[in-house]
Point group: C2
Chain length 124, copies 2
Amino acid sequence: MEHYIDVRPPSNRTRSLTHASPLEVSLQAALDALGDPVRRRIVRELAGGPDWTRACGTFTHLPVAKSTLSHHFAVLRNVGLLEQRDEGTRRLNRLRRAEFDDRFPGLLSLVLDEERDVPHDGRP
Amino acid sequence: MEHYIDVRPPSNRTRSLTHASPLEVSLQAALDALGDPVRRRIVRELAGGPDWTRACGTFTHLPVAKSTLSHHFAVLRNVGLLEQRDEGTRRLNRLRRAEFDDRFPGLLSLVLDEERDVPHDGRP
């Protein structure tokens, strides 16, 4: 039976994932994606750990509904910031840091430095 | 009567202009300001000429109402991207390029390069 494993199609969940390359993404789309504070937080949390270790299900501490969280992940994937793959019931993530940085130099660094870079008047 | 000229208060129009330093501005505010394509176009047009040469009245070719245009200029001023001063009936502009670039390295360059940097699929 082992040869059947190799030709088995990917699960419907994995097949439904569409990925964009950062090279196809406009500045407008990138600014729209990173204009949301929850999405910037997801990006920062992913940058804080190794690739493919954080599942979407580990972000439920964020103050948004589960459906909103799914939308945020889809937006990040569609601007080439995120690669995702399913392993069993878990959807794992990789931040496409180098690729995004090549396309939009400096933008991701601003997001990653945001929390330690509070403006002079103390506003977040 | 000449000494009266020196002590004359600035006009109400000039006095009403509030300026923010980029150092006081959050990344959220900067992304919100530059998330609008008309505001990015204003920034690019200002970058294309010397400081203090473009008056607000020279932007009427942009496809927005005059009141909307005034709002866009106020938003750019409030995130430290724009310095303005009144000369007679003209409101002149200076792009605070170096100051903004110090606060948000790379962000302004992405905006200035946007028009010649079309993504691979040809979308704007």
